[in-house]
């Protein structure tokens, strides 16, 4: 069932920024991530869904009802800001119960729901704490309990993890995933972090410069970006120029710097295209020295650089065209990957993605 439907939404703030023609559907129970660089308008879109601003154009439907001109208090949504925005003049309990008090829910029911949330989020020790003394992770949990208290139809999260240190972040991402599953929540989560998007999203929408430019599953977004801008943003580091040699109804033969690459023809590929870009993620390229039969495309090259990136190593190889691959520390040692060494690389043609220029 469809929980949120956004149709041709548009709004302009002053003469500086506008959201243009945004259409989105979010299914019930879906974890939907809006991913984009800073300044893309992600928070504004979330605030439009919440009703904090009313849009100049377009419609917002929540659970089948047109809520476009309803005030936020009549949309039944939960909203969490990046800074968690806890009310500083109330303790954690006061914050969590605020929504229920405002709605005039009787004390007995309030107490029952509070207990439920405390169990769900494991925050019993925080209830009577002054919220200004809570750590980032604790604040996030209290804000989460507050947002969930009145059973919102939709939970809107604005950069929920960006104010946390790495350890807390990965723990809370894990807990968020469990919570989403357990409570069957419909979540719209806005972030600039690809890591968060990959870990949590059922589907991702890429937002750039006030527009939604691509919507798809994580693997579609990260391996099959629909434009060069998106490819750049999601860090598909191998972008190669190629010429179309032959285009039949099911295969495509390309010339990649003198090598012939054959692949299945993408459904929407236009055979009149001559110049294209071939995209492949560094993770999809295998470095080795022996023969690998499963990978049809095999290239020979010389290593030009080995760099450490987090827990992995990036190996740059010159195969007549620049290739970027990611390998484990173990492989670097085992295969003696060092600058100047000759290596073979392989990849599956299914990992290749063609983008027209």
């Amino acid at each position: 069932m469809r929980m949120i439907r956004i149709e041709k939404l548009g709004n302009t703030w002053g003469d500086t920024f506008s959201l243009k023609d945004i259409s989105l559907d979010v299914e019930e129970g879906e974890y939907f991530v809006i991913l984009g660089p800073t300044g893309a308008g992600k928070t504004l879109l979330l605030e439009l869904i919440a009703g904090i601003y009313y849009p100049e154009r377009g419609h917002i439907m929540i659970d089948g009802e047109d809520k476009t001109s309803r005030p936020p208090e009549r949309r039944n949504i939960g909203f969490m800001y990046q800074d968690y925005s806890l009310f500083p003049h109330m303790d954690a309990k006061g914050n969590i119960e605020y929504g229920m008090r405002v709605r005039g829910i009787d004390p007995e029911e309030r107490g029952r729901r509070l207990e439920e949330l405390v169990g769900l989020l494991d925050i019993s020790s925080l209830l009577h704490r002054d919220v200004t003394t809570l750590s980032g992770g604790e604040q996030q949990k209290v804000a989460m309990a507050r947002a969930l208290a009145c059973y919102p139809k939709v939970l809107l999260l604005d950069e929920p993890f960006s104010a946390l240190d790495e350890r807390t972040k990965s723990r809370l991402i894990h807990e968020m995933k469990a919570l989403h599953h357990h409570e069957r929540l419909t979540v719209v989560h806005v972030t600039h972090s690809q890591e968060e998007a990959l870990q949590l999203a059922d589907r991702i929408a890429i937002m750039m410069d006030g527009r939604i430019v691509q919507v798809g599953t994580p693997s579609e977004i990260f391996s099959r970006p629909s434009s060069m801008d998106i490819a750049d943003f999601v860090k598909v580091e191998n972008i190669w120029k190629a010429r179309v040699n032959e285009c039949t109804h099911d295969t495509l033969t390309l010339d990649l710097y003198g090598y012939e690459v054959r692949m299945a023809r993408p459904e929407q590929f236009d055979c009149t295209e001559r110049e294209v870009r071939l995209l492949i993620r560094p993770e999809d390229i295998v470095v080795g020295s022996g023969a690998r039969t499963s990978a049809r495309n095999r290239f020979h090259g010389v290593i030009t650089a080995v760099e450490q990136r987090g827990f992995y190593h990036v190996v740059r190889i010159d195969c007549g065209f620049p290739v970027v691959t990611v390998v484990t520390k173990n492989s670097v040692e085992e295969l003696r990957l060092e600058v100047g060494a000759s290596v073979d690389i392989f990849f599956k043609t299914t990992a290749l993605h063609v983008v027209s220029v």
Partner: protein, 270 residues
């Protein structure tokens, strides 16, 4: 490190030390002025002071000053809170002009403010005549004092309340709305309680400003005499001998009230 002496600290931070001693002259100036007055009355001439502080005319005029300023502050609260909130939250055409107008009473000489108010509010004035037909007279009346005090003191209140509302993140209000609270409920449960310290300190400032007003009041309402008017009157007719004790009494009362109000507004912090 061993023990650092006062002179070590001066050598380590010569700029701070110099600035501190230069700044101290201001503090000494204020203390000298006030304590000289208090000393002359309370220590050198206590009988005269005690006699004046039992004079019912003097007490009445001081009481009048305190409560007219209180009423003026109430009006500033009632009209100033909505104005401050709008100015803190909304951008609109002409906002800067409005903000400039709000500050005008602080800038113009107060006798000028008095003349302007008198022209408007006198019995034959444009607005004064309307009020007069309703039985409210400003000329030489308590309401005249309140009007003059209000005019010169509200900017202090509005600016302080505006700073208070600006210090409350709009995100807190947005969250309150998404949790089911109307704009009204949000204002009274979130925005107002979170700016209460600014509002209280603005009200204290406005009240103190009203108590200390003379110029605007004296033009609009010479009678009934507020304390400042009475002090000048006594100074002109009986010199220091008669005016000084009233001045001291007013200082003491204002000082005590001011400290009480400050303490009260500070305890609300936690």
């Amino acid at each position: 490190m061993g023990t650092t002496t006062f002179f070590d600290k001066v050598r380590q931070q010569p700029l701070m030390a110099l600035f501190f001693f230069i700044g101290l002259t201001i503090v000494i100036f204020v203390i000298a002025t006030l304590f000289n007055l208090l000393y002359q009355q309370l220590v050198l001439n206590p009988d005269n002071f005690l006699a004046v502080s039992r004079d019912s005319a003097v007490l009445r005029s001081i009481w009048l000053t305190l409560y007219t300023s209180f009423i003026a502050t109430l009006f500033a609260l009632l009209a100033g809170i909505p104005l401050a909130y709008v100015l803190a939250r909304k951008e609109f055409f002409g906002k800067q002009i409005i903000e400039a107008f709000i500050d005008i009473p602080v800038i113009i000489p107060h006798t000028v403010a008095g003349i302007a108010l008198f022209s408007l509010l006198m019995k034959k004035g444009t607005v004064g005549s309307v009020f007069a037909s309703l039985g409210i007279v400003f000329q030489d009346s308590m309401w005249g004092i309140v009007a003059a005090m209000f005019f010169v003191s509200y900017p202090f209140f509005v600016n302080s309340a505006k700073d208070g509302f600006l210090s409350v993140s709009p995100n807190l209000e947005h969250v309150s709305r998404t949790l089911g609270a109307s704009q009204w409920r949000t204002f009274f449960s979130i925005s107002l309680p979170l700016s209460i310290r600014h509002i209280a300190s603005g009200a204290i400032m406005a009240w103190a400003r009203g108590v200390s007003e003379f110029g605007a009041v004296v033009v609009l309402a010479y009678y009934p005499m507020i304390a400042s008017t009475l002090i000048l009157y006594k100074f002109n007719t009986g010199g220091l001998q008669e005016s000084q004790p009233i001045a001291v009494l007013l200082i003491l009362i204002c000082f005590v009230t001011f400290i009480c109000l400050r303490l009260l507004s500070n305890t609300r912090r936690r």
